[in-house]
Symmetry: C2
Subunit: 274 residues, 2 copies
C-alpha cells in the first residue's frame, strides 16, 4: 500500500508495533510517527502527539499491545491519511468506527477463532495502490479479486470463525454487549491494582481490556503468585518473558467467572501479606 515514493508511518506502542515497523522497513521507507519506548510502552499518544511524515502513504497502529497491556481507548483520528490497524488482539472485542480505517487486519487466534487465518478488512480504493508483481500471497488486490480463494483457504479455521461470529451475534447480542462484558471483566482486575502491592504497568487511561499487566513488590512474590494461582486452576499468568511481571489475558472467550476467581485470589494473596 506504500508505493515506491511514499513512506509508511508507524505509531509504535509496544512489541507488535515494533515488529511491524521492522518488517515494513525491509521493503521501503518507514517513518516512526511516535514511539513509546522511553515510557517503557506504558502509555499511548494523543492524536496530536503523532507526527506524520509529509508523504505518509498510511499510518499504522497496533490497537492493543498484548505484552505491555496498552490499548487505544477509541479509534484514533490522524487526519486524512489511511489508518492501517493491526487489530489482532482486540478484533471483535468491541465496536469500531470502521470508516476511520483504511485497513484492519487481525489474526483470529485471540478473539475470533483458532490460529491459521487472518481477517483483513480493506477499503476498496486502497486496492488500486497495490503494485504489479508482488508475491501473490502478499498481494491484497489478488486476494480480493479471487474472493480469498486464489489458494485453498484454511477451511476449518474459517468455519470456526463463523461459529464465533454466530455466538457473538446470537448469544452475546453483538459487539456493544461484548464490549460491556469486557469492560466489566477488566474493571474487576484493575480495581485490585492499588499501586503499592499490585502496580499496573499501563497508564490508567491506556489500560487494555484484553491484557491486564502488573508487577508485585518483588520477583520472588511474582513467582509465588503464579505458583499459588496454578493451585487454584488459574493458569498462564506469567508475564511475557520480555517484560516480566504478571499478565492476565482475558479475551472474549474468558467468562466473567474466570476473572472473578482471579480477583478473589488476588485479594487473598495480598491480604495474606498485609
Amino acid at each position: 500500500l506504500r508505493g515506491s515514493t511514499r513512506s509508511a508511518d508507524f505509531v509504535v506502542t509496544g512489541s507488535w508495533g515494533q515488529k511491524a515497523a521492522q518488517e515494513a522497513a525491509r521493503e521501503g521507507a518507514v517513518h516512526i510517527a511516535w514511539d513509546g519506548k522511553e515510557h517503557n510502552y506504558s502509555r499511548l499518544p494523543s492524536d496530536s502527539q503523532v507526527r506524520r511524515s509529509a508523504n505518509a502513504a498510511y499510518i499504522h497502529i497496533t490497537s492493543n499491545e498484548t505484552i505491555q497491556g496498552v490499548q487505544f481507548a477509541a479509534d484514533p483520528d490522524f487526519g486524512d491519511v489511511p489508518l492501517v490497524c493491526d487489530s489482532s488482539s482486540d478484533f471483535l472485542s468491541r465496536p469500531v468506527e470502521i470508516s476511520r480505517y483504511g485497513l484492519i487486519y487481525a489474526c483470529a487466534q485471540k478473539n475470533a477463532g483458532i490460529a491459521g487465518v487472518t481477517v483483513c478488512v480493506i477499503r476498496k480504493d486502497l486496492l488500486e495502490r497495490v503494485p504489479q508483481g508482488l508475491p501473490t500471497m502478499l498481494d491484497f488486490a489478488q486476494m480480493a479479486k479471487y474472493d480469498s480463494i486464489y489458494n485453498t483457504p484454511p477451511v476449518f479455521a474459517i468455519y470456526v470463525l463463523q461459529l464465533v461470529l454466530r455466538w457473538l451475534k446470537n448469544d452475546i447480542g453483538g459487539l456493544a454487549n461484548m464490549a460491556q462484558l469486557n469492560q466489566q471483566k477488566s474493571k474487576l482486575l484493575y480495581e485490585a491494582l492499588d499501586g503499592r502491592f499490585y502496580r499496573g504497568h499501563a497508564n490508567v487511561d491506556c489500560r487494555s481490556q484484553m491484557n491486564v499487566t502488573f508487577r508485585l513488590p518483588s520477583e520472588e512474590l511474582e513467582k509465588d503468585f503464579v505458583k499459588q494461582a496454578e493451585q487454584r486452576n488459574l493458569f498462564e499468568l506469567r508475564g511475557h518473558r520480555s517484560v516480566g511481571g504478571i499478565r492476565a489475558s482475558i479475551y472474549n472467550a474468558m467468562p466473567i467467572e474466570g476473572v472473578q476467581s482471579l480477583r478473589t485470589f488476588m485479594d487473598e494473596f495480598r491480604q495474606a501479606r498485609a
Copy 2:
C-alpha cells in the same frame, strides 16, 4: 534459494507447475527446462529430456499434477543440482528417496491433513542461500531458526497432521504399505480404461495414483456419468473446469471400498451403452 545471479529451472508437467514458474518469475530469472504443453500435459519427460540451464540454482518439479493426472513414477535424477519439489498432492502417499531432494514442500490438504499448513523439508545447506531482507513469512532460514514458531503456527492443522502421521504409522503400517494400497486403488480404475469408451488422459507410464483422469466418447455422456454417479453417492467426479472430462481423486483417505464402488459403476455404465 535462487540468489540474484542464477536461474530457477522448472519442469512444467501441468497446471501447478505452470503457476509455480509464473510465481517464481516475479522475483528473478526462470528457465523452463521442459514443458509438456504441446502434449496437453499428458506425459512426463525422461531425466535426459530435461534441459538444465548452465547456472541453475535448482530444478523445480511438481511430483503429481492433480488436474491432468500425471505423476512422476520415481524420484527423478537431474544430476547435481538441488531438486525442489511441490509434493502437495502426493506427499505421504508413498516413500521417497529423500536424499535426492533439496526441498520438498507440501500443503497438507490432500494426504496429510486439513488446509492451512504446509510442510517443508529442506536441506540445511540450502538455508545458507537465503538472502537477507526477505519478507519473514517467505524466509525459510527464519522459519528454521525459530523452529517454525516465529509466528503463531496453525496449531489445530498441525495437530491433525500429527493424527494422520500416527494413522499412517500405526494403522497403515508405514509409507510402503500406503503405496501398495494406492497402487491397488488406482489399478482398479485404470484397468477400466479401455481406450474406446473410457479414454485415459495421461500416458500409461505417467499415470497418477492420486488423480485418475479420463474422457468419455462425448461431453453429453460425461454429464450423464457424473449425474448417475451422484445417485450412487459417488461425488466430485467432474474434471477440473480447465480440462473437462472425469477426474477421480483417490487420496490416502479414500478407502479401497470407495474405489471399488466407482469401478463397479464404471463397468455398469459402459455395459449399459455397449
